[in-house]
Amino acid sequence: MSDSVAMLLRRAGFGPTASELDAAKKAGYAATVAKLISPRGPDVAASLAPIPNLGPDPFIGSPMGQQRAAAVAKRRQQTSQIVRWWLDRMTVADHQATEKLVFFWHGHWATSIEKVSSPQQMMAQHMKFRDSPDFRVMARSLVTNPALIWWLDGQTNTKKAPNENLARELMELFMLGIGHYTEQDVKEAGRALTGWKLETRYPDAGVFLPQYHDTGKKTILGTTANFDALGLVDFLAKRPQCARFIASRLWFRYASSTEPIPRSTLDKMASAYPSTTSMLRTLFLDAEFRSGRYQLVKQPVEWLVGAMRQLRMRPTRLPEASTQRLLGGLESLGQVLFSPPSVGGWPSGVAWLTSSAAQVRLTMAQVIAEAAQPHRMTVEELANLLAVETWTDRTYSALKQASAPQHLLALGLVSPEYLVS
């Protein structure tokens, strides 16, 4: 049987500090779930990492020549700024479940700045994740959101030349899951999404141009109506399959990326839809989740942020060379914030467990351990610091060979027990 409070904190957030874990153990499991799901008051600690105000998009007015080069450089600098800010925010925030959920949504509506290019648009999308009270509202605001439209070529989707890219992913990856629609449904849904364009001046909302919109009747999943973009997502969000799809995605990221969601858990979570925090509460209180037999591999960002929190460090407040090595490490591991590799989001499980990844993490752990300058400690104290329940004999024997505290810490950070939660 696992120490379920520790497991809860590891999965609901990025990595509990020793004192957070102590407090949660005293409060008990149910009270800890309640606090995670409905934290009291504003997140004061998070205000240490204020949301960056990027100012206007440097590409407004279509700069040419030298000005264009300057705009490109500005965008690059702003991209680095938002990546660093988000890592920092995850680390300092007290409302860990909130931050983790935002990270979940980024992997769900996976949109990359590599194509979108505009940090303003990416931040506008990011704020939708933070500000949406439930899934239906989120789907509504994202379908007309410039980052997602551009990412999936929605701006080229017109009555004359319908483009199915956004429609397909809405059904396959964002709202229903594969197998719950036909190719004809995708085509018809594509027609519903016609007419949306973008303007650099408005990173927050797309521009609807009625002349490009197909006003005809569309038959989607057996229902014929004059669907438009919002009508389509409202319709999809009301499908029972949508609730079940979102429940299974949450299970996949919070409970197990290898075992399917048990039927009873699925039913309970789906009935808490569309509030995703209610769905999470249901999951955390579910016996299947609490049993702890399901296993997750920490994604690189989760691993790094968790370590930073436990060591009371901030990834962007280290010496610049160290910060850059850590950011470079995340890139080598394949997880850069705002840059998921594809619309399918980041991989899970064994994909992070390659020999190359082990090497990269070892290098990152060394950077972290050197910056942390830890005091001498026992292997039990190390377990406490990293919120690891027990070391296996294997890891114990590796740790016993470390002569300096920073080597002990580095080994703990790359240990299989720390990587799998």
Binding site: S112, E114, K115, N165, T258, Q295, L296, V297, S332, G334, P341, S342, V343, G344, W346, P347, G349, V350, A351, L353, T354, S355, S356, A357, A358, Q359, V360, L362, T363, A365, Q366, T392, D393, R394, T395, S397, A398, Q401, A402, S403, A404, Q406, H407, A410, L411, V414, S415, P416, E417, L419, V420
Partner: protein, 420 residues
């Protein structure tokens, strides 16, 4: 066991290394484990001895100054300062020739061991280094995908960790599968952080009875990276076989003016000769992003490529294992036809791909793109790169190209047929 016998044994044991990893998970590493494994049937081994070496030129190599349309007036008109005079070019035929920096490749051409595929690209070219390199490595031009084409082959064949090895500093997306990835081996032996000893990592690499599967996989990752590194180091130390013994070895570490590419290739040849069961090697040379003063810079890089490749090919030609190796050289895009104001070129589209090997039917493949019928100043691709990689998947890795490169109507190239 003497070196020669050992090597023969290794060669025959081939793909059994995967089993050795499981068997040996608790013990030491190295060739001893391979020796303990059972032999595979001769058919399997024979097919598995075909190996692929992928050379990536990062930065977008200027194809027009690599395979030069020296007889085309449009070439000289578009880039008067950058163009090579016809008499400086190493002629392949009456219209095309290699850059003067590629004298070694010209010799390989004469020996019919070099195939040049002309005008290779993909539809709707992307001029971002990042995106375009991603497209080549994932073989998915339409939308981004998370896995490389070799990585998907690793997934599909349940390959063991040493099946694909990169000697680049960072594992390229090419070798990333969804459940597997190639191993990344540093040129200068394993560089563990100071204070972290191999014994500690080896201890972390042991799996425990009854531990959760994913946790065991996390442990095995340490085992694997020590294992592959050990495999390479053993190969490096192995005495040369009688077939190759008269050759001088390129030193295994980058000393005395060897380019990094030559060093990477030297390691590859050592591994091949020692019978390391790796099927795909990835090496690279960077610096081709020549926006200014291109000619001397590119010539220097091409010379490095030429020295590294021609030495490597000569070495390979001496052994049976080496003669079964195919090398492919590509870059993420070519440059624009017209030179810019800084005597350089900006990001363009299609370019030539080289395929080399004793089994390769040397010659020209595909069609040289027109210099007058351009797409907004850029070359129009005449061959899809997926046809080149698909051919390699089929002929070298003996896999069905369509299984690992999707959404493409293949027009495979007769690169391994009779010489043209």
């Amino acid at each position: 066991m003497d070196a020669l016998t050992r090597r023969r044994f290794l060669r025959r044991s081939g793909v059994a290394a995967g089993a050795a990893l499981v068997v040996g998970a608790g013990g030491g590493f190295g060739l001893a484990e391979l020796l303990a494994t059972a032999e595979k049937g001769p058919d399997v081994v024979a097919r598995d001895e075909d190996k692929l070496v992928i050379v990536t030129l990062y930065g977008g190599n200027d194809g027009l100054n690599t395979v030069i349309p020296y007889a085309d007036p449009a070439y000289h008109a578009a880039r008067p300062e950058l163009a090579y005079a016809p008499e400086d070019v190493l002629h392949l035929n009456e219209s095309l020739g290699l850059s003067p920096g590629l004298s070694g490749l010209k010799r390989l051409w004469n020996e019919e061991r070099l195939a040049v595929v002309l005008g290779v690209g993909y539809p709707k070219p992307d001029r971002s280094h990042f995106r375009s390199m991603d497209i080549w490595q994932t073989a998915a031009p339409a939308a981004p995908v998370a896995t490389g084409w070799v990585g998907r082959w690793l997934d599909g064949t349940n390959a063991s960790p040493e099946a694909a090895v990169s000697f680049e500093p960072v594992l390229p997306p090419l070798l990333a599968g969804s459940t597997r990835a190639g191993a990344c081996v540093t040129i200068n032996a394993l560089q563990l952080p100071s204070g972290i000893k191999k014994e500690m990592i080896s201890a972390l690499g042991k799996t425990q009875q009854d531990e959760p599967e994913l946790q065991a996989r996390a442990a095995k990752a340490f085992h694997d990276f020590l294992w592959v590194d050990q495999l390479v180091r053993e190969a490096e130390k192995a005495e040369p076989s009688t077939e190759a013994s008269e050759l001088t070895y390129v030193p295994g570490t980058g000393t005395g003016g060897d380019s990094l590419l030559a060093t990477q290739l030297a390691l590859v040849s050592r591994c091949i000769e020692a019978g390391v069961p790796t099927r795909v090697y990835s090496v690279s040379l960077g610096g081709f992003d020549t926006h200014a003063d291109e000619r001397p810079a590119q010539e220097r890089l091409l010379k490095q490529l030429d020295d590294g490749l021609s030495g490597f090919m000569d070495r390979l030609a001496k052994t049976e294992a080496g003669r079964r190796v195919t090398v492919v050289v590509y870059s993420e895009f070519g440059r624009r036809v017209r030179a810019n104001a800084s005597d350089g070129t900006d990001h363009g589209t299609a370019g030539p791909v080289f395929v080399l090997g004793s089994g390769v039917a040397g010659g020209l493949y595909g069609e040289q793109p027109s210099l007058t019928d351009l797409d907004d100043g850029d070359l129009k691709a005449t061959t899809d790169f997926r046809d080149v990689f698909g051919t390699l998947l089929g002929s070298v890795l003996h896999a069905d190209p369509a299984q690992y490169i999707s959404n493409h109507q293949f027009k495979l190239l007769p690169l391994f047929g009779a010489p043209k």
